[in-house]
Symmetry: C2
Subunit: 630 residues, 2 copies
């Protein structure tokens, strides 16, 4: 079938609200400040609110037209600050879409389709600085900051409940390794974290469609998913569908790593339709502009590309400013050399010209540009290890220290910064990455890829990396870049993207729980309670992937009746370990005594009761292999 | 198709040697001591030897007849010790196959088929003790211990290389949290570890088919897979096929958790055809014998079941001796109560009779039985937490302390012991489990289920638990019980079992690398080297699951030519980050100077070379989304 039809179908599917879920908006201090939350309705009437990255797409009320783009949620906020001006955009060049872009007519058509997506760009007025960090440092709490605060809190009552529980039972308190996670996130707390550079709110003033979110050690751990166009699936609609699919499952930010054809036009479509921050690696497009010849790259071409993308609304740039000429030889003895693509491009340029990296030498000038649009830096780790053998070596840490210097230079202009991290790192070396990053990068948010804890499982690197991601997230990493099962092997498909995202949601959530983030435990407890009370549909609906959970259960017990049955297919219908505890509790309630006492008492009475009754209590259900040992 | 045909087909598939792999035997000090190793042949002529759990099934030379069972590898060793006697087995009862077993004729047929599998049982002569621990404590190095030593060492040269590397670069040394991992495993080391109870070699004298293996903190981390019969797939052949499938992918031990029909006869088939130790939970069969009525259980019935299974050759018993009457009320306030099936059975019995757990009160008598057959204890954690909320609570730790007491009682009779562990445990509470276990259980090997680090991902609990398993394995757990994607939801199929095993091989290997186990890194380095040198088939063949790795690669680059191409589909044909490093190295070789110097020098020369040449070096391959960020 042709792309648009397929797209319409795929998009409809990706827009369906998740089971038993409805979108609620928390009303902020102003009418146009409404923070989305996904509420999961349980069969017992209780609701569980979860962080919702899916944007308007899962809101049945919302009108979605990818040719027009999403509503400009923040337009009013930006306008009212009065420190920006709209201006005639940089003149569009044919090269912007790359040398291999569609022959003229086809590209014209694509551009015509994207016509509705063109916006007049804004930039800071002369002398102004429009970064959230700048406002924060001036003591201004922006609507974006309030939005973030309300969004991070989810349900306030959880925070209070958590505080009470942990006072009662320290066992439940986490270990945050020196983070400063508040019981309740206030707008002022968000401001102070952004002001000191410990959190970033990636929001280009030319991407007003974004629902603001924060990346920082003292906030919920976030995850990024990578998408990007390709020659075979060049339908731009499909790129939008990939975006919607990724945020449906929980991607907090999305990187557009497009290469090749129609690179500029594709980005128009992605950004105009994205409610989450979009990151890019501008050197990819710059390289397209010079026909892929690294040594022909110049600061001027790169600079022009930065402005082009800033005008489109890219929220953060990955730049490999730390790949310095003197560091390149440090990779000579490595097992796997340089494995970052952007890092390799710059290394090749440095070798070819035997000159220092031009991104490094022009850093302050580059920062001037980011400042004018509030684009955030994601300082790339071009020398990250590509194998456990190369982990934490001098090349990696020399670059990391340089990224720390650059962080302070960026902060001198109040430009927001996060730091990218490895890569391939065995478990015993993971924490050192976090401590070194904190030490040298002044608590700027860490944004890591994995790390992969072993190299021997291609095809399962979402798992080898999910282990490292959960650990480094616990230690203090603010955002985890997902890895799909296809890592090292090829192009991920829809299912790979979903599996990668779910795996990383697991890692991020396990980290939040271990850090003792208030409210994080709530969803675990709600699901465990549903499990204990045999509310099967609630258990499925509360899970990260309700469809898969239900599907697996249906394979052995497809009947609806099984969804309310007081047993599961692991222990069978007539016997369930959880029932004993329930009997003891029932008994306690009826007796109205404390449960402990009841338990003691209960043993006596049950002693008679069971002996007299003694019906068959255990028959294995058909076809069951119990999995739990013992 | 009917079972036998399907079985033959499945078994043939499960017996195929893995790609580029051949079985080699390390010759021990006696002709009948031959230790299997899987050697993976690389295209560069180098071989990598990996620990091989698959037994004779993957040996083309071996004659496999599941109706006759495997060769009795250890028969001569046991015989020659002269401390055992064969005797008339316990009289077989109808009930042994359970109350729901096949109607008479069908069962007769099954038993007739199993006729070739009947062995006359052996037991210790009066007053003798035939446990490996007993020999070890008397200073005797058994062939079993030598077998284990050779098996753990894999390739001695790796140990030496590792020692050299870590001396040169401490970066590569692991952190074993106080374990005492030797550079080379000697038979004497194995003896000393078994003597002090820090390792177990689970080997019933009535299971001479086993290829000896050790479970201990100072050895490679092992994994267990659970199988078991069921009413729908009651073909006993299929149970054997499940066993062969599990050990093919790396299960070090297998637990037969059969319930229901033909339970005794099924076990005959599994044990006689298993080259890995088999564990059971005898209370399951005992419960079948009393028609599933927990309160009708008696010590006599349980004792009879222990002897029945010991005669068949079960290598380790999970017994829930720590579920004591006074502990049960400690679960009353829990989120999910008691989730261990065996634990629930005993809790129900205790409540019904208001008496202390009969397994606890008869512990020494039970140990007498295990001693006579060298069955090892796996002391079950019947009160393990079933949710993060219940982790590390008083119920769990009260039981753990009891298991510590029982460990010393077992050791008084030189009976081998391991301790089972949780369950559901958030990351920040995982290490406490290990330290408490070491403290209270006197370094007896820890055998944990997961632990699951969050409760919110049913359908992905192999991942939520794989994270915890890798961590606790690193901290010192000796064996990890796998969890499949179907955990909490239903019956795992072949693919689930495979995914569960591969996930746990990842966790175990990541732990070995982090602990700094000599030789563990070797496979990572070999695969990374193959990756760096674009030896694609070697990369696949060295991986834990070559079929899946190759399949994923073929999805984007199916041609054979791609298997030798100097690029992958992530960065395209004309540009690859790894190439730069290779060019620098090539250059160094030709110049015969140190690589560092060459790198510096190289930059200059390349500076000219590239400028003059400057051919197109980067064109994205068709249809590629780069996954690695930056």
């Amino acid at each position: 079938m042709n792309a648009p039809d397929k797209f319409t179908q795929l998009l409809r599917y990706a827009c369906d609200p998740l089971p038993a879920s409805s979108k609620r908006y928390i009303q902020g201090s102003r009418p146009d400040l409404r923070v989305p939350v996904r509420e999961i309705m349980q069969s017992n009437g209780e609701t569980v609110a979860v962080y919702d990255t899916s944007g308007p797409y899962t809101d049945p009320q919302a009108q979605i037209d990818v040719r027009a783009g999403l509503q400009a949620l923040r337009a009013g906020w930006i306008e009212s600050r009065g420190d920006t001006e709209s201006y005639a955009a940089r003149i569009r060049k044919a090269l912007d879409d790359g040398r291999q872009s569609e022959e003229h007519d086809a590209l014209q058509l694509l551009r015509a389709q994207a016509a509705g997506l063109q916006r007049t760009p804004r930039r800071a007025k002369a002398g102004a600085n429009v970064s959230q960090m700048h406002y924060a440092r001036k003591g201004i709490i922006t609507p974006e900051m309030e939005f973030v605060a309300l969004r991070e809190n989810q349900k306030l009552e959880w925070m209070e409940q958590y505080a009470a529980n942990t006072e009662r039972d320290q066992r439940l308190a986490g270990n945050s390794f020196g983070a400063s996670i508040p019981k309740v996130v206030t707008p002022e707390f968000v401001r102070s974290e952004v002001a000191r550079g410990r959190a970033v709110i990636p929001l280009n003033i030319n991407h007003p469609e974004v629902e603001p979110m924060a990346i920082g050690r003292n906030f919920l751990v976030k995850i990024n998913a990578n998408i990007g166009n390709s020659a075979v699936t060049s339908s731009i609609e499909e790129e939008v569908e990939k975006l919607v699919w990724a945020i449906r499952w929980g991607a907090d930010t999305v990187m557009d790593l497009s290469t090749g054809k129609n690179i500029h036009t594709t980005r128009d479509w992605i950004i105009r339709n994205s409610p989450v921050p979009i990151g890019t690696v501008p050197i990819y497009q710059a390289l397209e502009k010079v026909g892929g010849i690294a040594e022909d790259l110049t600061w001027e071409i790169f600079r022009d590309t930065l402005i082009e993308q800033a005008e489109q609304g890219v929220d953060y740039f990955t730049v490999h400013a730390g790949v310095r000429l003197p560091f390149i030889h440090l990779t000579a003895n490595r097992m796997t050399g340089i494995v970052s693509r952007g890092g390799s491009i710059m290394a090749k340029w440095c070798i070819a010209h035997h000159k220092e990296n031009f991104i490094y030498t022009h850093f302050d000038e580059m920062t001037e540009i980011l400042k004018a649009y509030d684009v955030s830096y994601s300082l790339g780790d071009g020398l990250r290890p590509g194998s456990g053998a190369d982990a934490n070596d001098e090349a990696q840490f020399a670059e990391l220290r340089t990224l720390g210097e650059l962080t302070q230079k960026a902060w001198q202009q109040d430009v927001q910064v996060m730091i990218e991290g490895p890569g391939h790192v065995p478990m015993h070396m993971v924490q050192e990455n976090m401590t070194e990053q904190l030490k040298h990068c002044h608590e700027a948010p860490f944004y890591t890829l994995g790390p992969l804890t072993t190299d021997i499982a291609p095809g399962y690197d979402h798992i080898t990396s999910g282990i490292g991601a959960a650990m480094i997230g616990w230690f203090g990493t603010a955002m985890l870049c997902y890895v799909t099962p296809k890592e090292h092997l090829g192009l991920p498909d829809r299912d790979d993207v979903k599996v990668g995202i779910i795996t990383y949601k697991i890692a991020a959530h396990a980290a939040d729980v271990a850090k003792g983030h208030p409210g994080a435990r709530y969803r675990d407890d709600a699901l465990s309670k549903a499990r204990f009370e045999f509310r099967w549909m609630d258990q499925f609906n509360l899970s990260l992937d309700p469809e898969t959970a239900k599907k697996f259960h249906d394979e052995t017990l497809p009947k609806d009746s099984a969804k309310v049955a007081h047993f599961c297919s692991m222990c069978g219908p007539k016997f369930c370990s959880m029932k004993i505890t329930q009997e003891v509790r029932e008994y306690a309630k009826n007796l109205g005594v404390s449960e402990e006492a009841a338990a003691e008492q209960g043993m006596l009475e049950k002693s008679q009761e069971f002996k007299s009754g003694g019906g068959e209590i255990y028959v294995p259900v058909n076809g069951v292999i119990p999995i739990a040992q013992g």
